[in-house]
Protein backbone atom coordinates (compact mmCIF):
# COMPACT_ATOMS: atom_id res chain seq x y z
CA UNK A 1 0.00 0.00 0.00
CA UNK A 2 2.83 2.40 0.89
CA UNK A 3 4.63 1.60 -2.39
CA UNK A 4 1.44 2.25 -4.33
CA UNK A 5 0.91 5.56 -2.56
CA UNK A 6 4.53 6.57 -3.18
CA UNK A 7 3.69 7.18 -6.85
CA UNK A 8 0.87 9.60 -6.00
CA UNK A 9 2.35 11.23 -2.91
CA UNK A 10 3.28 14.88 -2.63
CA UNK A 11 6.82 16.27 -2.48
CA UNK A 12 8.65 17.54 0.59
CA UNK A 13 10.96 20.51 0.14
CA UNK A 14 13.05 21.69 3.10
CA UNK A 15 14.54 25.14 3.57
CA UNK A 16 17.49 25.16 5.95
CA UNK A 17 19.88 27.82 7.16
CA UNK A 18 20.81 29.99 10.13
CA UNK A 19 18.65 32.91 11.21
CA UNK A 20 19.01 35.79 8.78
CA UNK A 21 19.84 33.53 5.83
CA UNK A 22 16.58 34.41 4.08
CA UNK A 23 14.88 31.00 4.35
CA UNK A 24 11.47 32.44 5.25
CA UNK A 25 11.55 35.01 2.43
CA UNK A 26 12.50 32.35 -0.11
CA UNK A 27 9.99 29.89 1.28
CA UNK A 28 7.18 32.42 0.81
CA UNK A 29 8.24 33.24 -2.77
CA UNK A 30 8.64 29.58 -3.62
CA UNK A 31 5.26 28.67 -2.17
CA UNK A 32 3.51 31.28 -4.34
CA UNK A 33 5.36 30.00 -7.41
CA UNK A 34 4.48 26.37 -6.64
CA UNK A 35 0.81 27.30 -6.26
CA UNK A 36 0.96 29.07 -9.61
CA UNK A 37 2.31 25.81 -11.06
CA UNK A 38 -0.79 23.99 -9.77
CA UNK A 39 0.62 22.44 -6.56
CA UNK A 40 -1.48 22.34 -3.44
CA UNK A 41 1.03 23.57 -0.88
CA UNK A 42 1.19 23.08 2.91
CA UNK A 43 3.76 24.97 5.00
CA UNK A 44 5.35 23.46 8.10
CA UNK A 45 7.43 25.72 10.30
CA UNK A 46 10.11 24.73 12.79
CA UNK A 47 8.88 24.31 16.40
CA UNK A 48 5.28 24.87 15.47
CA UNK A 49 3.70 21.65 16.75
CA UNK A 50 0.50 22.45 18.63
CA UNK A 51 1.38 20.02 21.42
CA UNK A 52 5.10 20.75 21.91
CA UNK A 53 5.48 24.45 21.11
CA UNK A 54 3.70 25.70 24.28
CA UNK A 55 5.94 23.46 26.42
CA UNK A 56 9.07 24.79 24.79
CA UNK A 57 7.98 28.42 24.94
CA UNK A 58 7.23 28.23 28.66
CA UNK A 59 10.57 26.58 29.47
CA UNK A 60 12.61 28.77 27.12
CA UNK A 61 11.20 31.88 28.79
CA UNK A 62 12.61 30.64 32.10
CA UNK A 63 15.97 29.73 30.47
CA UNK A 64 15.46 26.36 32.15
CA UNK A 65 16.49 23.97 29.38
CA UNK A 66 19.75 22.06 29.15
CA UNK A 67 21.09 21.30 25.63
CA UNK A 68 19.84 17.68 25.92
CA UNK A 69 16.33 18.73 27.01
CA UNK A 70 16.20 21.33 24.25
CA UNK A 71 17.26 18.73 21.69
CA UNK A 72 14.75 16.11 22.90
CA UNK A 73 11.89 18.60 22.86
CA UNK A 74 12.92 19.68 19.34
CA UNK A 75 12.99 16.01 18.31
CA UNK A 76 9.49 15.58 19.79
CA UNK A 77 8.33 18.67 17.87
CA UNK A 78 9.84 17.25 14.67
CA UNK A 79 8.16 13.86 15.18
CA UNK A 80 4.81 15.42 16.03
CA UNK A 81 4.88 17.74 13.02
CA UNK A 82 5.94 14.86 10.79
CA UNK A 83 3.07 12.69 12.00
CA UNK A 84 0.33 15.30 12.19
CA UNK A 85 1.16 17.80 9.43
CA UNK A 86 3.73 16.54 6.97
CA UNK A 87 2.90 12.86 6.39
CA UNK A 88 -0.90 13.37 6.20
CA UNK A 89 -0.34 16.13 3.59
CA UNK A 90 2.14 14.05 1.56
CA UNK A 91 -0.22 11.08 1.73
CA UNK A 92 -2.95 13.25 0.21
CA UNK A 93 -0.65 14.32 -2.63
CA UNK A 94 0.06 17.83 -1.35
CA UNK A 95 3.45 19.50 -1.62
CA UNK A 96 4.97 20.35 1.77
CA UNK A 97 7.33 23.28 2.17
CA UNK A 98 9.20 22.99 5.46
CA UNK A 99 10.65 26.24 6.76
CA UNK A 100 13.47 24.50 8.62
CA UNK A 101 13.05 20.79 8.95
CA UNK A 102 15.29 18.30 10.65
CA UNK A 103 18.74 19.67 9.90
CA UNK A 104 18.35 22.96 11.78
CA UNK A 105 17.78 20.99 14.99
CA UNK A 106 20.84 18.87 14.22
CA UNK A 107 23.06 21.88 13.41
CA UNK A 108 22.04 23.80 16.52
CA UNK A 109 22.35 20.83 18.86
CA UNK A 110 25.76 19.92 17.40
CA UNK A 111 26.84 23.52 17.88
CA UNK A 112 25.84 23.07 21.54
CA UNK A 113 28.32 20.19 21.74
CA UNK A 114 25.96 17.21 21.52
CA UNK A 115 27.09 14.07 19.70
CA UNK A 116 25.76 13.96 16.13
CA UNK A 117 25.36 10.19 16.25
CA UNK A 118 23.05 10.43 19.30
CA UNK A 119 21.17 13.31 17.69
CA UNK A 120 20.49 11.24 14.57
CA UNK A 121 19.18 8.43 16.77
CA UNK A 122 16.94 10.80 18.69
CA UNK A 123 15.40 11.97 15.40
CA UNK A 124 15.16 8.47 13.87
CA UNK A 125 13.59 7.19 11.75
CA UNK A 126 14.76 10.14 9.70
CA UNK A 127 12.49 11.35 6.96
CA UNK A 128 14.28 12.46 3.86
CA UNK A 129 12.98 15.50 1.97
CA UNK A 130 12.85 15.29 -1.83
CA UNK A 131 14.92 18.46 -1.96
CA UNK A 132 16.88 20.37 0.70
CA UNK A 133 17.79 23.99 -0.04
CA UNK A 134 20.54 25.24 2.27
CA UNK A 135 20.91 29.01 2.39
CA UNK A 136 24.52 29.78 2.99
CA UNK A 137 25.56 33.11 4.54
CA UNK A 138 28.63 34.23 6.45
CA UNK A 139 28.46 34.62 10.25
CA UNK A 140 28.84 38.40 9.77
CA UNK A 141 25.90 38.64 7.36
CA UNK A 142 23.70 36.51 9.59
CA UNK A 143 24.58 38.57 12.69
CA UNK A 144 24.05 41.89 10.87
CA UNK A 145 20.64 40.83 9.56
CA UNK A 146 19.52 39.42 12.91
CA UNK A 147 20.70 42.45 14.89
CA UNK A 148 18.95 44.81 12.45
CA UNK A 149 15.60 43.14 13.12
CA UNK A 150 15.63 42.42 16.87
CA UNK A 151 17.86 41.11 19.64
CA UNK A 152 17.99 37.32 19.30
CA UNK A 153 16.28 35.31 22.00
CA UNK A 154 18.28 33.47 24.69
CA UNK A 155 18.47 30.04 23.01
CA UNK A 156 18.62 31.45 19.45
CA UNK A 157 21.66 33.44 20.57
CA UNK A 158 23.18 30.34 22.17
CA UNK A 159 23.55 32.19 25.47
CA UNK A 160 23.03 28.90 27.33
CA UNK A 161 26.38 27.66 25.99
CA UNK A 162 28.38 30.84 25.33
CA UNK A 163 27.56 32.42 28.73
CA UNK A 164 27.79 35.83 27.09
CA UNK A 165 25.31 38.33 28.53
CA UNK A 166 24.91 40.40 25.35
CA UNK A 167 22.56 38.47 22.98
CA UNK A 168 24.10 39.90 19.79
CA UNK A 169 27.68 39.18 20.88
CA UNK A 170 26.61 35.69 21.91
CA UNK A 171 24.85 35.14 18.59
CA UNK A 172 27.96 36.27 16.71
CA UNK A 173 29.99 33.56 18.42
CA UNK A 174 27.28 30.87 18.29
CA UNK A 175 26.36 31.36 14.63
CA UNK A 176 29.98 30.65 13.61
CA UNK A 177 29.76 27.19 15.22
CA UNK A 178 26.28 26.66 13.82
CA UNK A 179 27.33 27.48 10.24
CA UNK A 180 30.23 25.02 10.51
CA UNK A 181 27.75 22.32 11.50
CA UNK A 182 25.37 23.25 8.68
CA UNK A 183 28.25 23.04 6.20
CA UNK A 184 29.26 19.58 7.45
CA UNK A 185 25.63 18.41 7.17
CA UNK A 186 25.38 19.94 3.68
CA UNK A 187 28.36 17.84 2.59
CA UNK A 188 27.22 14.62 4.28
CA UNK A 189 23.60 14.82 3.20
CA UNK A 190 24.11 16.56 -0.15
CA UNK A 191 21.99 19.66 0.28
CA UNK A 192 21.54 22.07 -2.62
CA UNK A 193 23.44 25.13 -1.46
CA UNK A 194 22.01 28.52 -2.36
CA UNK A 195 24.18 31.59 -1.85
CA UNK A 196 22.03 33.55 0.60
CA UNK A 197 24.03 36.71 -0.07
CA UNK A 198 22.94 36.90 -3.73
CA UNK A 199 19.99 39.12 -4.71
CA UNK A 200 16.66 37.61 -3.61
CA UNK A 201 15.30 37.11 -7.13
CA UNK A 202 18.53 35.44 -8.33
CA UNK A 203 18.22 32.90 -5.52
CA UNK A 204 14.56 32.34 -6.33
CA UNK A 205 15.23 31.78 -10.07
CA UNK A 206 17.92 29.25 -9.26
CA UNK A 207 15.55 27.37 -6.97
CA UNK A 208 12.87 27.23 -9.66
CA UNK A 209 15.42 25.83 -12.12
CA UNK A 210 16.68 23.23 -9.64
CA UNK A 211 13.15 22.18 -8.76
CA UNK A 212 12.23 21.75 -12.45
CA UNK A 213 15.38 19.69 -13.05
CA UNK A 214 14.76 17.47 -10.02
CA UNK A 215 13.71 13.97 -10.91
CA UNK A 216 11.10 12.35 -8.73
CA UNK A 217 12.54 9.40 -6.81
CA UNK A 218 10.77 6.77 -4.72
CA UNK A 219 10.94 6.99 -0.95
CA UNK A 220 14.10 5.49 0.49
CA UNK A 221 14.24 2.88 3.23
CA UNK A 222 14.27 5.41 6.10
CA UNK A 223 11.23 7.18 4.73
CA UNK A 224 9.40 3.89 4.28
CA UNK A 225 10.14 3.01 7.93
CA UNK A 226 8.76 6.34 9.10
CA UNK A 227 5.62 6.00 6.96
CA UNK A 228 4.97 2.41 8.08
CA UNK A 229 5.34 3.43 11.75
CA UNK A 230 3.05 6.41 11.19
CA UNK A 231 0.42 4.19 9.60
CA UNK A 232 0.67 1.59 12.37
CA UNK A 233 0.69 3.81 15.44
CA UNK A 234 0.08 7.47 14.93
CA UNK A 235 -3.35 8.63 16.03
CA UNK A 236 -3.11 11.10 13.14
CA UNK A 237 -3.19 8.16 10.71
CA UNK A 238 -6.34 6.64 12.24
CA UNK A 239 -8.43 7.64 9.21
CA UNK A 240 -6.04 5.94 6.77
CA UNK A 241 -5.90 2.87 9.04
CA UNK A 242 -9.65 2.57 9.16
CA UNK A 243 -9.93 2.98 5.38
CA UNK A 244 -7.29 0.36 4.65
CA UNK A 245 -7.86 -1.99 7.63
CA UNK A 246 -4.20 -1.91 8.62
CA UNK A 247 -3.48 -4.32 11.48
CA UNK A 248 -1.31 -3.13 14.34
Amino acid sequence: MVRARDKKRGLLIAFEGPTGAGTSTQRRLFKVWLEQQGHEVVTSKWISSRAIRPLMKARARLHALSPEELCLLQAADFRHRLETQILPALWQGKTVVADRFLFTSLARASARGLDLDWLLFAHAPLFWPDLVFYFSVSPTTSTTRVAAAHAPRFYDAGQDVTNIADPVASYRRFVGRMIKEYESLALIFQFVTIDGEQPIYEQHRRMRRLFDEKRRQPWGQWNMEAVVEWLAWSPAAAEVRRGASIPR
Partner: protein
Protein backbone atom coordinates in the same frame (compact mmCIF):
# COMPACT_ATOMS: atom_id res chain seq x y z
CA UNK B 1 25.15 3.95 28.74
CA UNK B 2 26.45 7.10 30.34
CA UNK B 3 29.21 6.79 32.90
CA UNK B 4 28.25 6.53 36.52
CA UNK B 5 28.32 9.65 38.55
CA UNK B 6 31.68 10.11 40.27
CA UNK B 7 29.88 10.36 43.63
CA UNK B 8 29.52 7.42 45.97
CA UNK B 9 25.75 7.39 45.99
CA UNK B 10 23.53 4.55 44.89
CA UNK B 11 20.84 4.68 42.27
CA UNK B 12 17.93 2.27 42.59
CA UNK B 13 15.37 1.95 39.80
CA UNK B 14 11.80 0.94 40.62
CA UNK B 15 9.85 0.05 37.49
CA UNK B 16 6.35 -1.14 36.64
CA UNK B 17 3.33 -0.65 34.45
CA UNK B 18 1.13 1.00 37.10
CA UNK B 19 2.28 4.45 38.12
CA UNK B 20 0.36 4.53 41.37
CA UNK B 21 1.87 1.23 42.57
CA UNK B 22 5.37 2.28 41.49
CA UNK B 23 5.08 5.52 43.43
CA UNK B 24 3.68 3.79 46.52
CA UNK B 25 6.34 1.05 46.42
CA UNK B 26 9.15 3.58 46.09
CA UNK B 27 7.69 5.69 48.86
CA UNK B 28 7.35 2.70 51.23
CA UNK B 29 10.94 1.73 50.54
CA UNK B 30 12.17 5.26 51.06
CA UNK B 31 10.38 5.53 54.42
CA UNK B 32 12.18 2.40 55.54
CA UNK B 33 15.53 3.81 54.42
CA UNK B 34 14.85 7.16 56.05
CA UNK B 35 14.17 5.33 59.29
CA UNK B 36 17.69 3.97 59.05
CA UNK B 37 19.03 7.56 58.67
CA UNK B 38 19.94 7.01 55.02
CA UNK B 39 20.20 10.31 53.11
CA UNK B 40 18.63 10.72 49.69
CA UNK B 41 15.17 10.73 48.15
CA UNK B 42 12.76 9.56 45.50
CA UNK B 43 12.73 10.92 41.96
CA UNK B 44 9.34 10.43 40.33
CA UNK B 45 7.90 10.75 36.85
CA UNK B 46 7.02 14.19 35.44
CA UNK B 47 9.21 16.20 37.79
CA UNK B 48 9.69 18.66 34.92
CA UNK B 49 5.91 19.10 34.53
CA UNK B 50 6.02 18.33 30.80
CA UNK B 51 3.19 15.80 31.00
CA UNK B 52 1.10 17.91 33.38
CA UNK B 53 1.41 20.79 30.94
CA UNK B 54 0.36 18.57 28.05
CA UNK B 55 -2.73 17.55 29.98
CA UNK B 56 -3.76 21.19 30.23
CA UNK B 57 -4.16 21.18 26.45
CA UNK B 58 -7.13 19.34 25.04
CA UNK B 59 -5.86 15.81 25.33
CA UNK B 60 -8.09 14.43 22.63
CA UNK B 61 -6.38 16.55 19.99
CA UNK B 62 -2.80 15.86 20.95
CA UNK B 63 -2.27 12.93 18.56
CA UNK B 64 0.98 11.77 20.15
CA UNK B 65 2.54 8.52 18.96
CA UNK B 66 4.54 6.16 21.22
CA UNK B 67 7.79 7.54 19.80
CA UNK B 68 6.85 11.16 20.54
CA UNK B 69 5.73 10.19 24.05
CA UNK B 70 9.10 8.51 24.63
CA UNK B 71 11.01 11.58 23.46
CA UNK B 72 9.04 13.58 26.02
CA UNK B 73 9.77 10.96 28.69
CA UNK B 74 13.46 11.22 27.83
CA UNK B 75 13.30 15.04 28.16
CA UNK B 76 11.67 14.62 31.58
CA UNK B 77 14.34 12.10 32.60
CA UNK B 78 17.12 14.51 31.57
CA UNK B 79 15.49 17.06 33.87
CA UNK B 80 15.29 14.54 36.73
CA UNK B 81 18.91 13.54 36.26
CA UNK B 82 20.02 17.15 36.24
CA UNK B 83 18.10 18.38 39.25
CA UNK B 84 17.29 15.33 41.40
CA UNK B 85 19.33 12.23 40.64
CA UNK B 86 22.89 13.38 39.83
CA UNK B 87 23.14 15.99 42.61
CA UNK B 88 22.05 13.33 45.15
CA UNK B 89 24.48 10.72 43.83
CA UNK B 90 27.30 13.27 43.84
CA UNK B 91 26.66 13.81 47.54
CA UNK B 92 26.77 10.09 48.26
CA UNK B 93 23.02 9.74 48.76
CA UNK B 94 20.64 6.91 47.85
CA UNK B 95 18.24 7.93 45.09
CA UNK B 96 15.23 5.85 44.15
CA UNK B 97 14.16 6.59 40.57
CA UNK B 98 10.55 5.50 40.18
CA UNK B 99 10.22 4.87 37.29
CA UNK B 100 13.54 4.97 35.46
CA UNK B 101 14.62 3.62 32.05
CA UNK B 102 13.12 0.11 31.89
CA UNK B 103 9.51 1.29 32.13
CA UNK B 104 10.09 3.50 29.11
CA UNK B 105 11.90 0.73 27.23
CA UNK B 106 9.06 -1.70 28.00
CA UNK B 107 6.54 0.83 26.69
CA UNK B 108 8.63 1.41 23.56
CA UNK B 109 9.07 -2.30 22.82
CA UNK B 110 5.32 -2.83 23.32
CA UNK B 111 4.73 0.11 20.98
CA UNK B 112 6.72 -1.59 18.22
CA UNK B 113 9.91 0.46 18.52
CA UNK B 114 13.30 -1.17 18.10
CA UNK B 115 15.35 -1.97 21.19
CA UNK B 116 18.47 -0.50 19.58
CA UNK B 117 16.73 2.86 19.16
CA UNK B 118 15.50 2.79 22.75
CA UNK B 119 18.92 1.84 24.10
CA UNK B 120 20.62 4.62 22.18
CA UNK B 121 17.99 7.19 23.11
CA UNK B 122 18.48 6.53 26.82
CA UNK B 123 22.27 6.27 26.57
CA UNK B 124 22.54 9.51 28.57
CA UNK B 125 21.12 7.81 31.69
CA UNK B 126 23.63 6.14 34.03
CA UNK B 127 22.88 2.47 34.75
CA UNK B 128 21.23 1.91 38.14
CA UNK B 129 22.99 -0.06 40.89
CA UNK B 130 19.83 -2.13 41.30
CA UNK B 131 16.54 -2.43 39.47
CA UNK B 132 13.26 -3.77 40.89
CA UNK B 133 9.83 -4.19 39.41
CA UNK B 134 6.51 -3.62 41.09
CA UNK B 135 4.42 -6.53 39.93
CA UNK B 136 0.84 -5.92 38.80
CA UNK B 137 -1.84 -7.13 41.17
CA UNK B 138 -4.92 -8.62 39.53
CA UNK B 139 -5.72 -8.41 35.85
CA UNK B 140 -4.05 -5.61 33.96
CA UNK B 141 -7.24 -4.52 32.23
CA UNK B 142 -9.11 -3.95 35.51
CA UNK B 143 -7.14 -0.98 36.70
CA UNK B 144 -6.96 1.82 34.17
CA UNK B 145 -5.79 4.37 36.70
CA UNK B 146 -5.88 8.14 36.33
CA UNK B 147 -4.09 9.93 33.53
CA UNK B 148 -1.49 11.47 35.78
CA UNK B 149 -0.93 8.36 37.92
CA UNK B 150 2.04 7.51 35.80
CA UNK B 151 3.67 7.49 32.41
CA UNK B 152 1.94 4.31 31.22
CA UNK B 153 -1.52 5.52 32.30
CA UNK B 154 -0.89 8.84 30.56
CA UNK B 155 0.19 7.15 27.32
CA UNK B 156 -2.65 4.65 27.32
CA UNK B 157 -5.16 7.45 27.85
CA UNK B 158 -3.68 9.37 24.90
CA UNK B 159 -3.63 6.34 22.62
CA UNK B 160 -7.07 5.14 23.71
CA UNK B 161 -8.55 8.57 23.08
CA UNK B 162 -7.43 8.37 19.50
CA UNK B 163 -9.62 5.46 18.48
CA UNK B 164 -7.02 2.81 19.23
CA UNK B 165 -8.36 1.24 22.47
CA UNK B 166 -7.55 -2.32 21.41
CA UNK B 167 -3.95 -1.35 20.70
CA UNK B 168 -3.66 0.46 24.03
CA UNK B 169 -4.92 -2.53 25.98
CA UNK B 170 -2.58 -4.88 24.13
CA UNK B 171 0.24 -2.46 24.82
CA UNK B 172 -0.04 -2.92 28.58
CA UNK B 173 -0.07 -6.69 28.20
CA UNK B 174 3.05 -6.54 26.04
CA UNK B 175 4.75 -4.39 28.67
CA UNK B 176 3.98 -6.98 31.34
CA UNK B 177 5.45 -9.66 29.05
CA UNK B 178 8.61 -7.56 28.62
CA UNK B 179 9.03 -7.22 32.40
CA UNK B 180 8.46 -10.93 32.88
CA UNK B 181 11.24 -11.54 30.36
CA UNK B 182 13.57 -9.30 32.39
CA UNK B 183 12.56 -11.03 35.62
CA UNK B 184 13.30 -14.42 34.09
CA UNK B 185 16.83 -13.21 33.39
CA UNK B 186 17.06 -11.80 36.96
CA UNK B 187 17.63 -8.36 35.49
CA UNK B 188 14.72 -6.63 37.17
CA UNK B 189 13.40 -8.84 40.00
CA UNK B 190 10.14 -8.26 41.78
CA UNK B 191 10.24 -5.75 44.63
CA UNK B 192 9.10 -7.84 47.57
CA UNK B 193 8.41 -6.91 51.19
CA UNK B 194 11.59 -8.74 52.10
CA UNK B 195 13.68 -6.49 49.84
CA UNK B 196 11.96 -3.40 51.25
CA UNK B 197 12.48 -4.47 54.85
CA UNK B 198 16.14 -5.33 54.36
CA UNK B 199 17.26 -3.13 51.49
CA UNK B 200 20.57 -4.00 49.84
CA UNK B 201 22.02 -0.54 50.47
Amino acid sequence: MARRSPGKGRLIAVEGTRGHDVRDGASAWWQRLEGRKVRGGVSTWDASGIFSDLRVEKRKHLSLSPRTLLLLYAADLVFRLRWQIRPGLDQGQVIIAAPYVDTAVAFGVAGGLSRSWLTRLFAFAPPPDACYRIKERGRASRSKGKTLDGFVEFCIAILADEATPAGASQLRKDMVAYFEGLEAKSKCPRLTRRVISSPPV
